[in-house]
Symmetry: C2
Subunit: 337 residues, 2 copies
């Protein structure tokens, strides 16, 4: 294993000079810099991470807490994680993967041990146990998701309220007057995951303003659950012509069921999904959808975090504006015979 000292010796300079070449924190003459850089290359030197962390009290690692559950939103989580990892690298950080399993203890452990310099927390609940810890510590953190009280926190999320409103608007504009909302799994609401409630909020308030009737039903993913839910919805409100689907694993089942019942999409029934674009274009009907900008959220979170680490920024809530893309699953409401 090659050390700084060996590089220094090889280049005929002192260790501190090599360090300054590496960090750029003091000016170094061109000649010296070149000599050092060449020695580094020649010897295949890699700075020791532990020593660096110890001496500088910075690990250059960002912790990413992902949910343990793989029951919802998996592609979105994955995409965010990957975006976080790659973006972090461009800023010189690596990413430590923490699952929610340890809960708040993970926060203590990581901040206490200096394992990571900062933290990104996903799948935030409205009253998350981790929040007090994050507020207390002086380690910067960014939440992906929005808790009830955002004071003293930096959050990045899709504006789900606006997302809900946008979906209703689109359907209302097309003349739909009875809209069913196929929501996330009941467990998601029970956990008080913010985004689900905020979407609903946006849906309801805009529906109220536009005089549209709304029927919201949580729904587990999969074909069977969707079948039950759909039957109930149509039983309760046979005049339903518009659907907003938030649970991406309910989308394809819904389309299959509608088809099976002889209801044509979009002639008889319109469907708006809230899902990643990839899902929307791969469905059996190309779906009009509001995209979940997973990559953007991941990139944003890292950008904020790095800004905070550099002392460039304070707390802030960033809500990404939703965008609705019209595809083949929505059309004018059928005129009543």
């Amino acid at each position: 294993m090659v050390t700084l000292a060996e590089v220094a010796q090889h280049a005929g300079v002192s260790a501190s000079t090599v360090s300054y070449v590496l960090s750029g924190k003091r000016s170094i003459s061109g000649a010296t810099r070149q000599r050092v850089e060449e020695s580094i290359r020649e010897l295949g030197y890699h700075p020791n991470a532990g020593a660096r962390a110890l001496a500088s009290s910075k690990s250059n690692i960002i912790a990413l807490m992902i949910p343990l559950r793989t029951d919802m939103y998996v592609p979105v989580m994955m995409e965010i994680a990957i975006a976080v990892a790659t973006t972090a690298r461009t800023h010189g950080y690596d990413v430590l993967l923490l699952t929610g399993e340890e809960g708040p203890d993970a926060v203590r452990r990581v901040t206490g041990s200096g394992l990571a310099d900062a933290m990104i927390v996903m799948d935030v609940e409205l009253h998350d146990e981790r929040l007090p810890l994050l507020r207390d510590t002086d380690q910067p953190s960014v939440l992906i998701g929005l808790p009830a009280d955002t004071s003293g926190l930096t959050c990045v999320d899709l504006d789900f309220r606006a997302t809900g409103a946008l979906c209703v608007e689109h359907l209302a504009m097309l003349g739909h007057r009875d809209i069913a909302v196929i929501g996330e799994a009941p467990a998601v609401y029970e956990r008080h995951t913010g985004f689900a409630e905020r979407t609903l909020d946006g849906l309801r308030s805009r529906a109220g303003e536009l005089g549209v009737r709304l029927l919201h039903r949580p729904c587990d993913g999969g074909y069977d659950a969707m079948a039950v839910t759909l039957a109930r919805v149509l039983d309760e409100r046979p005049t339903t012509t518009g659907f907003v689907v938030q649970n991406e694993s309910a989308v394809e089942p819904l389309l299959a069921l509608l088809r099976q019942q002889g209801r044509a999409v979009p002639e008889d029934v319109s469907v708006v999904a809230i899902c990643p674009d990839q899902v929307a274009v791969q469905a059996s009907v190309r779906l009009t959808s509001v995209a979940i900008p997973a990559q953007e959220m991941g990139r944003h979170a890292v950008a904020r975090l790095v800004a905070k680490l550099d002392g460039r920024e304070g707390d802030e809530v960033v809500l990404i504006a939703p965008e609705l893309t019209v595809r083949a699953s929505t059309g004018p409401a059928p005129t009543v015979a």
Copy 2:
């Protein structure tokens, strides 16, 4: 920030004693141990990760390289990643998330800097550039997936050859004589990702033995791609009554298309999927499938890696035996009229 020295002072012992209490590497009297442990709790001490890594030259971090692409197998990847992270924690390790983006350089960086003690590599190609590096370094590593040459490497994977064979056997046993294989996206084969080719191998050789005709077609995910592929298959071999689907994002589209064409599953056509159980049970027809044991693979990989770190084990290839679960998507081949 609380240090070892402060804990030592608080407990009235030397620093080394505290260290030995923590590591258990020397015997400590019960009384002393208790006193130290109490001081630790009272002061809220967390050992500094950097200092530890420097002094012991072990970081207690496992690097996990995941593929950058989110175009295939996302849930499987995610499940593996989560299983790796949680299993690693039970062994006292944290997980560093690396995307394939940096390529072989990531291997150099991580092993060179001592950032991680060991490495798990996913999405291994048959002739992966990272393999020589992994063989050369003295850092233990485990591959999830199987390259062409496994010498000097530890690998964990589902036995995809046996998986392919199993699928054919099941269909053959039910009387199917013409089987179509809906494979992964063409890009997957072009990359020479091992599992896809090994599956095919298993399918073909067993088909040969059993006198079954096989037609293999790669297929991108999604409805449109599946529609094209299906049309071609049925055009070329109208007598096809069995399908083996490896691309999970082609499963639901295939079922929808078959339904649409009036082909009943499993009365007219049988479908076997190679996919996680969750996908199989959530589909519109409960799918007979060979499960991809993502969690098991993740856990296994960590277990092997930890064993190697402890010097308990050498290189080895672990192939997990496939299990086929019969559900509602397969049945006897229709008798020709």
